[in-house]
């Protein structure tokens, strides 16, 4: 029948699918590059010159040392004395450096200058040194925290872990401090607790999910401040303030809340700095205050991307005394965020974390002697060189490295160029040679500072080029891999498409030549299906379309059903006087049946769509589920039982549609009834969800599972072999008889009919069982949607079977797919819960201090429950309606008790109006 045999077709299909899989995996590997990271933690070996052996033997003796002795060991071998005794790391989430340091040499805007008087004065007199710390993308809190404490840039996969934080196992500053016995305290964002569980002596975590709260999150941190500062049992204090980021999310950079938040942060800086000064006077050690932000924010207050506004985070180093730093204008004011980690490590005398790609901020070690400064740079270089060795296996400085000290000969500096391996090797050797020579006092005899400066320059050249290369390696994607993956995907798609067209060309020759419909190229529903798929693909580009995907599916499903409806009407003839031939009568019946079942689908689809509101925009509108929950549990249980009974009845009746009533069908029928009754009995017995299951009920459920499992497997395996026994009359079935006109092929055809029949039974049985299982496993509120889905499926089966070849098969399959997706969302599944979406933009323009009420000017009213953020808070966003003020009420929130109404973000245009709203709102809420 065709030029290509079935085997070839299969081979092509299999090949295409395989190529698809290969392409997909290549793409995924390319998109999420796995870079070789060094495992383990740096120990005292990091204070020794990298050896020629790539696999550095780590010093096992370190592990056995007590923290105190390890600290002494480090001090001994590092040759760089710790400059400070204690460290306060103050993280201000989302603070752009522009707010404090200005942009491109310009001072920050007047509002921000005045908001932070103390910090600005510290900057002016040189006590504080501020840098624009360029953060790497993605500018989300957790990866940036990791970058700050480890000096490494994680891959993009880090974002995926942002909400499912795992403990950070790679080498980092906190682990190093912990090893030398530091006591650490953390107050603020609980991301730290998730990243470093068990490292903190004391902690108070606040969650960053709740963006509407801009006050309490920071009060929860600051309330510990005085107490912590008065204690001297910690070495490392982390304060993570989230409020500024929340202000940004609410109102953007120029929010009116921003200045007051900066004032608050300035107060904190002042408190800490005054405390450090007091400590210094009392001889309680030197404290370094480091104020950093994890990322910046865009004009609207969002972050995550890699624009300048987002990556422009701050790093402020505030020492106790002004003369600590020689403020010189020659130093650059821009560093990388990863530079913080090695700087802190060297300042506090711990090994630099293994995967660090940052470079020491040389201005920070200005108070050291020249020897010590060079030593610090050397340590940094060694660490980076080790990392390079791991990432560039071909780093072939072997002979150079293994050379012993170059002592008395004049150091030679070679011009460095070539490939990465050669370049880094050359740069490193240059710096090392110069340094060795300096140590041997060869250079200093000739020209003192000049030689010293040349070493500094050599080190910096190596460090900056190595750091740059490493950071590119971490974030750059291998483009050729991506292209290869996409190309493979496209090729496989083309093959599959070609196959589809090929099969399509073959079909009309032997099946559908009698339908002239087939000849018309495109029909409305087909165009729509293709268009719908395209729109879905495009809509995935918009985050809000993903949030509201359920509405899109509902919309598409209803539309395609309307198109089917239109099609059914096309053949519907109401003119009874036209002619009374039996064929027209039958046709009319068929289209009438089609129309009524389409009506049923549309109706049930609408109920399903209204069952659960969700997504983000309309999540608080009343829906049937909330209404039922309000009405009471007994109604839900009644509906559940009724739905279960209906599913059983429908399931049994569709089995009866099969003409052949034999023992097999009876057995299936019986098992269906039995499992259905088991579920029903479970519902009747188990109406109150609070009572725990007992063994008796467990048994009945187990019996249900057993019946279900056995029947589903047995039916597939046995049915096709048993069915042929009793099928002589099967040919009389109406819907399949139209092509059975050739007597010679009757034998063949009956076999096909038998297969069709058994497939029909299997399909019906599976669907019924699926519904029963869903009824059992879903929440009781979802019992009705399951039933409605079942009805929808049956109705569409009826429509498609009665329409004959009116629709093409792929259109029907797509329609069923749409139906299934709409059903998936109708059961309450959502891509996002509004709770999980802290990053919503709205504009805050007015800030009136009515107790616990924040009034703003945009489009919605936000209500949130309580300060108690650790226990599942609820946020309700009610849309404002200008005509009907009474509409703002606690609709659908009967299940939440608003213990205290702490913040109401409101947004009517006029302030009086908003008060009216709040009044009528409060009058409708009864506080327990």
């Amino acid at each position: 029948m065709s030029s290509v045999s079935c085997t070839k077709l299969t081979l092509f299909t299999v090949a295409a699918v395989t190529i698809q899989f290969i392409g997909l995996s290549i793409f995924v590997f390319g998109f999420f590059p796995v870079k070789p990271l060094l495992t383990g933690h740096s120990g005292s070996e990091s204070f020794r010159r990298p050896t020629c052996d790539v696999r550095d033997v780590s010093n096992h003796s370190d592990a056995s040392l007590l923290p105190d002795s390890l600290r002494f060991l480090y001090q001994e071998v590092s040759e760089v004395p710790p400059l400070y005794d204690r460290l306060v790391l103050m993280v201000i989430d989302g603070l752009p450096a522009e707010f404090v340091l200005g942009k491109k040499g310009q001072p920050p805007s007047k509002v921000f200058m005045e908001a932070m008087p103390y910090t600005q004065s510290l900057l002016a007199n040189g006590t504080a040194v501020g840098y624009h710390a360029i953060a790497a993308a993605p500018t989300v809190t957790m990866p940036r925290l990791k970058a700050m404490v480890s000096g490494a840039i994680g891959g993009f996969l880090d974002v995926a872990f942002n909400f499912n934080t795992q403990a950070y196992l790679e080498d980092n500053l906190l682990a190093q401090f912990f090893k030398i016995g530091w006591k650490m305290v953390m107050h603020g964002d609980d991301t730290w607790l998730k990243l470093f569980p068990g490292l903190f002596e004391r902690h108070d975590g606040v969650t960053s999910f709740f963006v509407k709260d801009t006050v309490q999150v920071d009060q929860n941190v600051s309330r510990h401040l005085v107490d912590e500062l008065s204690r001297d049992d910690w070495n490392f204090l982390i304060l993570h303030y989230l409020g500024l980021d929340h202000v940004g999310h609410l109102g953007g950079r120029n929010s009116v809340l921003m200045a007051s938040k900066l004032v608050e942060m300035d107060e904190v800086v002042k408190t800490i700095h005054i405390n450090t000064l007091q400590n210094l006077e009392n001889d309680q050690g030197k404290t370094l205050l480091v104020v950093v932000s994890d990322h910046g924010m865009t004009e609207n207050g969002n972050h995550g991307g890699s624009s300048y506004e987002e990556t422009d985070s701050i790093a402020l180093f505030i020492g106790p005394k002004p003369h600590t730093f020689h403020h010189s204008s020659s130093n650059p004011d821009t560093i990388f965020q990863v530079d913080i980690a090695p700087t802190l490590a060297l300042l506090f005398g711990v090994p630099i974390p293994k995967n660090n790609i940052g470079v020491l901020i040389s201005q920070m070690v200005d108070s050291l002697t020249d020897d010590q400064k060079l030593r610090a740079l050397q340590l940094n270089s060694w660490q980076l060189f080790r990392l390079l060795q791991a990432q560039l296996p071909g780093l072939s400085c072997r002979n150079l490295l293994c050379d012993t000290f170059i002592t008395n000969i004049e150091p030679t500096i070679s011009e460095c160029k070539g490939r990465e391996e050669k370049l880094f090797c050359c740069l490193y050797v240059n710096a090392a040679t110069l340094h060795d020579a300096w140590k041997a006092k060869v250079f200093s005899r000739f020209n003192g500072t000049e030689g010293y400066n040349s070493i500094l320059a050599a080190y910096h050249e190596f460090l900056s080029s190595a750091s740059e290369w490493l950071s590119h390696k971490a974030t750059d994607k291998p483009v050729n891999l991506l292209v290869l993956g996409v190309a493979a995907l496209i090729i496989s798609c083309l093959i599959l498409l070609g196959l589809v067209f090929f099969i399509h060309k073959e079909i009309p020759s032997w099946e559908t030549q009698d339908h002239e419909n087939y000849m018309t190229p495109w029909k409305f529903d087909e165009v729509f299906v293709l268009f719908g798929i395209l729109t879905l693909v495009i809509s995935m580009g918009s985050s809000s379309m993903i949030e509201e995907e359920h509405y899109i599916w509902n919309f598409l499903t209803s539309t395609i059903n309307f198109l089917f409806f239109r099609k059914a009407i096309q053949s519907l003839d109401l003119n009874k006087a036209h002619d009374i031939l039996s064929s027209t009568e039958e046709k009319r019946n068929i289209s009438g049946c089609q129309i009524s079942s389409l009506f049923l689908i549309l109706f049930t689809g609408r109920i399903l769509g209204g069952w659960h509101q969700g997504g983000v925009n309309w999540t608080n509108l009343p829906d049937i589920a909330k209404w039922l929950e309000q009405a009471g549990n007994q109604y839900i249980n009644l509906i559940q039982i009724a739905s279960c009974a209906m599913v059983i009845i429908l399931g049994i009746s569709i089995l009866y549609l099969v003409q052949s009533k034999t023992k097999v069908v009876t057995v299936i029928w019986f098992s269906l009834l039995m499992s259905g009754l088991l579920v029903l009995q479970h519902f009747v017995k188990h109406q109150d969800m609070s009572i725990p299951y007992n063994n008796d009920e467990n048994l009945s459920i187990q019996v249900f599972y057993a019946v279900l499992g056995i029947t589903t497997v047995a039916v597939v395996l046995i049915l096709p072999w048993i069915m042929p026994m009793q099928t002589p009359e099967i040919c009389s079935r109406k819907n399949i008889c139209m092509s059975a006109s050739v007597p010679v092929e009757v034998q063949n055809m009956t076999r096909i009919f038998v297969l069709k029949d058994s497939l029909y039974i299997v399909g019906c049985l599976y669907i019924t069982f699926w519904c029963l299982l869903q009824l059992l496993l879903q929440q009781s509120i979802n019992a009705m949607p399951v039933l409605l889905l079942f009805i929808q499926f049956l109705a569409s089966m009826l429509t498609f079977s009665s329409s004959g070849s009116c629709h093409k098969q792929w259109v029907e399959i797509t329609a069923l797919y749409y139906l299934g997706m709409a059903g998936h969302f109708a059961l309450g599944n959502r891509n996002f819960k509004s709770l999980n979406l802290p990053f919503r933009s709205s504009n805050v323009h007015h800030y009136l201090c009515i107790p616990d009420v924040i009034l703003s000017e945009s489009g919605a009213v936000h209500l949130c429950q309580g300060h108690d953020l650790s226990t599942g808070y609820q946020e309700r966003k009610l849309r404002r309606n200008s005509q009907d003020p009474s509409w703002i009420s606690l609709l659908g929130t009967a299940d939440h008790k608003f213990c205290s109404l702490d913040c109401v973000h409101n947004c009517p245009a006029v302030d009086e109006e908003s008060l009216v709203y709040l009044e009528c709102f409060f009058s409708q809420v009864s506080f327990p």
């Binding site: 018309t520 190229p521 409305f524 918009s542 985050s543 809000s544 379309m545 949030e547 509201e548 509405y551 899109i552 509902n554 919309f555 209803s558 539309t559 309307f562 239109r566 099609k567 009407i569 096309q570 519907l572 003839d573 109401l574 003119n575 549309l602 109706f603 689809g605 609408r606 769509g609 209204g610 997504g615 983000v616 925009n617 509108l621 009343p622 919503r840 933009s841 709205s842 945009s858 489009g859 919605a860 309606n881 200008s882 009907d884 509409w887």
Partner: protein
Amino acid sequence: MDRRKSSGKTTASRASTVEAPPSISVSEAFIVNALCVLGLAFAFWAANTVFSIDLVSHPSLTLFLISIAELPIVILLYSRYRQNPRQCSYLRAVGRGVLGVPVGALLNFLGAIALGAPVKFQYLPKTINWALMMSVFTTVPASCVLGSSWAEWRRIFAQTKPNGSIEYLICLPAHGAVIGAWFGAWPMPLDWERPWQEWPISVSYGTIVGYLVALVASLGFVLACFRSLHIKSE
């Protein structure tokens, strides 16, 4: 598309040899469309200046104004081109058009609900007024011209096989309004938080834009129809 249209035309012309379809000259069609557009513009003007409201601030009232302004224009104009003008008086056609309002409104209302329009009580006036406007754009001209002939209605709305210039004037704007309304619903779930994203504002805008575009397109089709007739007669 073109092939389908032409084939539809030939079959339809074969079928309706019994009675010549009512025809409309290009200039008349232009006047009808221009008056429809003017009616819309007048409705917006009246809403803006007389009542000082607009679609965003007072959707249901504005929609009602649009329907009220457009309804007499549409009924009076389209009744002139009724089928079988000898058997059916002008007044009867007007009466048919008035009857078409509630029927079309009901159909559009049900359609909007099925496609996901909110069923809450507070949205009821908006949905009803929107459905009224839709019926003025879709069913009223058809009921004026076609009456209650099921076959004609089916041919024009279910099969989209208009025949003759006046049927283009019925069919295209109605389809344009429905398709425009369908596209107008797409911005609703976006998170721009604009007031016009509420039901039924963006949908009404889509309806009006689709209607206007289809009016212009129908003029083009009438022109093409006229040309082909001209060539045939020559």
